[in-house]
């Protein structure tokens, strides 16, 4: 119900929209009986604020929330079509069980009874570690929290993972080892204050479009702002580039060291910052001084790095000088750094550049990782949704941490295992090998998205698979024994935490479609049926779950005590640490204005401007790492001479379960293609739109060629969205030994014209 004032306001807004000629039917049709609700975009890690238009129990329109400082009312084209996903014909409306090879409709009772019975049987016969959970950076924090308690706290297995392992684990490892704490020091606010954006392995224009707009606006209003791109592929992001370095995929570690070499030798470093704020360590963790760091860098002269990376030495020097000469600098990176066999090292080497120049902890300077999914940071990195961590930046290996969490969960401390469980690739290998006999998959589509995907279909076929999903079919539901209909965005409330440490509340504004239920409640009800009645009795509302989790963040570096539902419902998110309900949130961590830093005793802050107090830091210091260059896991060779790299495009999201419901988006980007540089295409006699066969050691597929000057010669690019052309089947599942994140970004391939 609207009151008169709101009525006039909406009518005026519609009249205004009409007068400037906005003819988006959904906007116009969203007439006066539309109720607008403040929420967050369902898609990417930018975390744009949206206003959801709801009318008669249906979502009728989406518009940008102009009070949200992330996006100031702007959205990207994906978000515009979200209402179509909510009410799509592909929504899963009823629980289903596989009978005689076919999924047939059933009721909740039978479905959950079956899952509980099967899981209990497996647990009894083979132990808790024969069960596993695989979740998502798109699940709400509350949902991941419920899964964590059920699996780690009650079933007693740490086999709990989520798809952020596939995208952000290297950034987590990089941050933890370099600055002692996960997630960036600053926020998006730095975008409007910086003199240089260095974009590394990030097609910001397509993967984080609204942030790209902010970068552009910064450059427009301040034309001296420089943009340097390091990426093997030219992308739409290049429209604003001042300089673009094209390393061969997987050969950029030497390049980062060479930039450091130039910074060190041209006098761009901040020796007093280094002295007061950092350790310098080699790969074995041995401490070194600046002199031996300089010696180490002598192996990475621009000329040497040029020979390894393929980037001209002059360009390396140029990039380094731009970085050195800029008063402030932001490095932004995404999957190009993370999805790598040495992703953690790559992250370390990039963060090094900021540590040696002191370009961190001041307005406009930061080493800022862009997250892909809307709640990878909030639910999984902070919420403890991986096999080695617990809620609130805690570790399963830490006895005190286990105790704290067990106490809040009301389970015996011994329930939580001290040993990390199986990481994602090991988990799906475990299904293949039969070590894991039952898995619960929530809000993600691993049969499509895993690297070397076809290899892991075996285990999904053979073991007991439960999939909680909002859409049917997906490649993963093909293997499901039980499919549970999950309420979708706008049908449930909860919290998403985006790239910049900001937690935002999303309301439930319509009833779930069909018999769909909220994931957190599905897990709760399953837990009860498995015998954990007592442990899960109290979770009657989302707020109860959030409050319990919030309590676990008290006094941690990611303190969310001040972020109550009450408050979150009013504000446009809060940026932690936010220790009390009066606290406004924190723009910069580890320095003045950060409540945790401010509370430190004066002697700790003596002679320094930052104190890295994070869980992995010692003496408040960050670490400059002497990481050697390393080649990718699967270098090209005579047999497979082309480097295959994969990624996202603007119009689509992941495995198309959502964006695939909008015909307009399908028309804009209807099918997969391989981008081939004209030089390579000429050599191979391939013309635009020819069908070609792509092969790697893991498989082959036919795909349309798009001859275009985007990937550098020797490299090809394929977007991963379409199940008809699942490029991930061809991707390498070699993973980083540190972060366990697979190397989607480099595989050796060959192409032939059909």
């Amino acid at each position: 119900m609207q009151n008169r004032r709101e009525f006039i306001k909406t009518s005026a807004a519609i009249a205004a929209a009409a007068s400037i000629g906005v003819q988006f039917p959904s906007k116009l049709m969203a007439s006066t009986d539309t109720n607008w609700h403040k929420s967050v975009c369902r898609y990417c890690g930018v975390g744009c604020g949206v206003m959801i238009g709801e009318s008669g129990g249906k979502i009728t329109a989406i518009k940008g929330d102009n009070q949200n400082t992330i996006n100031n009312g702007h959205l990207c084209v994906k978000a515009f079509y979200l209402p179509k996903a909510v009410h799509s014909k592909t929504r899963l409306l009823h629980p289903m069980i596989r009978k005689n090879g076919k999924l047939v409709e059933t009721d909740w009772e039978e479905a959950l009874d079956l899952v509980a019975k099967k899981f209990n049987e497996i647990r009894k016969a083979h132990g808790g570690d024969a069960l596993a959970f695989y979740g998502s950076g798109q699940a709400e924090t509350e949902e991941t929290y419920m899964a964590n308690k059920l699996f780690k706290g009650c079933i007693g297995t740490n086999n709990l993972e989520g798809n952020p392992r596939l995208c952000m684990a290297s950034a987590v490892g990089g941050y933890l080892s370099s600055i002692g704490a996960d997630e960036p020091v600053g926020t998006y606010e730095d975008f409007e204050k910086t003199d240089l954006f260095m974009l590394v392995g990030s097609n910001t224009a397509e993967a984080h479009p609204i942030l790209f707009e902010r970068i552009m606006r910064r450059k427009n209003s301040n034309p001296s702002t420089k943009i340097v791109i390091i990426d093997p592929r030219k992308t739409p992001t290049d429209q604003i580039a001042d300089l673009h370095l094209f390393p061969k995929p997987g050969y950029d570690l030497a390049l980062f060291n060479a930039i450091a070499y130039v910074l060190v030798n041209e006098g761009f470093i901040d020796e007093s910052f280094i002295k007061a704020h950092t350790f310098i360590k080699d790969n074995e963790g041995q401490a070194h001084d600046l002199t031996s760091y300089k010696e180490f860098l002598n192996d990475y002269t621009p000329e040497k790095a040029a020979a390894i990376s393929g980037v001209p030495a002059a360009d390396i020097v140029k990039a380094a000088k731009i970085f050195g000469n800029s008063k402030t600098a932001m490095t932004l990176w995404t999957m190009g750094l993370n999805q790598r066999k040495r992703g953690v090292w790559a992250n370390n080497l990039v963060i090094n550049l900021h540590l040696i120049t002191g370009k961190i902890g001041v307005p406009g300077s930061d080493a800022f990782s862009l997250t892909g999914q809307p709640n990878a940071c909030g639910g999984v990195r902070e919420g403890g949704g991986l096999c080695h961590i617990l809620p609130g930046h805690r570790l399963v290996a830490n006895e005190a941490h286990r105790k704290q969490v067990a106490e809040v969960w009301g389970v015996p401390a011994g329930n939580i295992q001290p040993k990390p469980g199986k990481h994602t690739i090991a988990m799906f290998q475990g299904l293949n090998d039969g070590d894991i006999k039952g898995i619960y998959i929530m809000c993600t589509n691993p049969a499509h998205s895993l690297p070397n995907a076809a290899k892991y279909w075996k285990g999904l076929k053979e073991q007991f698979v439960v999939v909680a999903e909002s859409f049917l079919p997906t490649m993963t539901t093909e293997y499901a024994d039980v499919v549970l209909p999950a309420a979708f965005w706008t049908e449930k409330e909860g919290v998403y935490g985006c790239t910049e440490r900001r937690s935002q509340y999303m309301p439930g504004v319509i009833e779930p479609s069909g018999e769909a239920k909220w994931d957190a409640f599905i897990l709760r009800d399953l837990a009860k049926k498995m015998g954990f009645e007592k442990e899960f009795a109290k979770y009657e509302t989302a707020e109860i779950i959030w409050d319990e989790y919030r309590g676990l963040t008290k006094g941690k570096d990611m303190d969310l005590m001040g972020a109550t539902y009450n408050r979150l419902k009013k504000v446009r998110g809060l940026i932690w640490p936010v220790p009390t309900e009066e606290h406004p949130g924190t723009y910069k961590r580890f320095t003045d204005g950060d409540p945790i830093y401010d509370a430190l005793p004066a002697e700790k802050k003596k002679n320094r401007r930052m104190y890295f107090y994070g869980p992995k830091a010692k003496d408040g210091k960050a670490t400059i790492w002497m990481r050697p260059h390393a080649d990718p896991g699967e270098p090209t060779d005579a047999e497979y001479p082309i480097a295959l790299t994969t990624g996202r495009i603007l119009e689509h999201w992941h495995t198309l379960t959502m964006t695939g419901t909008a015909p307009q988006l399908n028309r804009a980007a209807p099918k997969a293609y391989v981008e081939i540089n004209p030089v390579d295409a000429n050599k191979m006699g391939i013309k635009n739109k020819d069908q070609v066969k792509m092969e790697t050691r893991r498989g082959s597929l036919n795909i349309e060629a798009r001859v275009i000057d985007r990937p550098a010669p020797g490299t090809v690019f394929v977007p991963f969205h379409w199940k008809e052309t699942p490029i991930n089947v061809l991707c390498s599942d070699i993973f980083d030994p540190g972060s366990k994140e697979p190397e989607y970004k480099v595989a050796a391939a060959r192409i032939t014209k059909i």
């Binding site: 009312g73 959205l75 990207c76 119009e651 804009a668 013309k687 635009n688």
Partner: protein, 184 residues
């Protein structure tokens, strides 16, 4: 002539075929989308319809099914081959199969560098002009930046000099109402 007879029957067949799906087509081709492009190698519309004998050989020859018979567009162009880029754009094949099969020389190679139509952005309907980040047209234009480009506020503009009027941008544009139109 054997050939002629076959042409007539093909002509009839295609006309009937179009009649048959008239309703369907009518529905799918939104009023506003009713702007069309002329086939590659054609002169201005007036000359084109004088020369074209409606053999529809070009339609059969097009490997991308970009050419179709105009209907309910306007009296002048109806029943002549055209391109409806909202359905299928022209691939600008380097060997122009459509031109090669055109006997009456309504389509000729020497004119293949002429744009198929004049393209214009409809700012009222375009996302980029209305608070949404969208770049599908620019990303997908086969000519690249020189034909359609983004200004420093991410709004697309067309450079008529370089645009060949292939209609790919129209085909990919995800806007709900046509955000790129053809000025005939």
């Amino acid at each position: 002539m054997q050939n002629k007879v076959e042409n007539i029957s093909r002509h009839k067949f295609i006309v009937n075929f179009v009649q048959l799906f008239r309703d369907e087509l009518g529905k799918s081709v939104n009023e506003e989308y009713k702007s069309y492009l002329l086939p590659p190698g054609s002169a201005a519309q007036e000359e084109y319809i004088q020369k074209c004998n409606k053999c529809y050989e070009c339609i059969s020859a097009c490997p991308h099914e970009a050419l179709r018979v105009a209907h309910e567009m306007n009296e002048t162009i109806d029943s002549y081959p055209i391109i409806l880029p909202s359905i299928t754009a022209c691939n600008m094949c380097s060997d122009f199969p459509c031109i090669n099969v055109c006997e009456p020389e309504a389509l000729i190679s020497s004119q293949s560098d002429q744009p198929l139509g004049k393209i214009e952005i409809v700012e009222n309907n375009c996302y980029a002009y209305n608070d949404h980040y969208c770049t599908s047209c620019v990303t997908n234009c086969p000519i690249g930046d020189s034909a359609i480009y983004l200004d420093s506020n991410n709004k697309p503009h067309i450079n008529i000099e370089n645009c060949n009027g292939c209609g790919v941008c129209i085909n990919t544009c995800p806007a709900e109402q046509p955000a790129i139109k053809i000025i005939n």
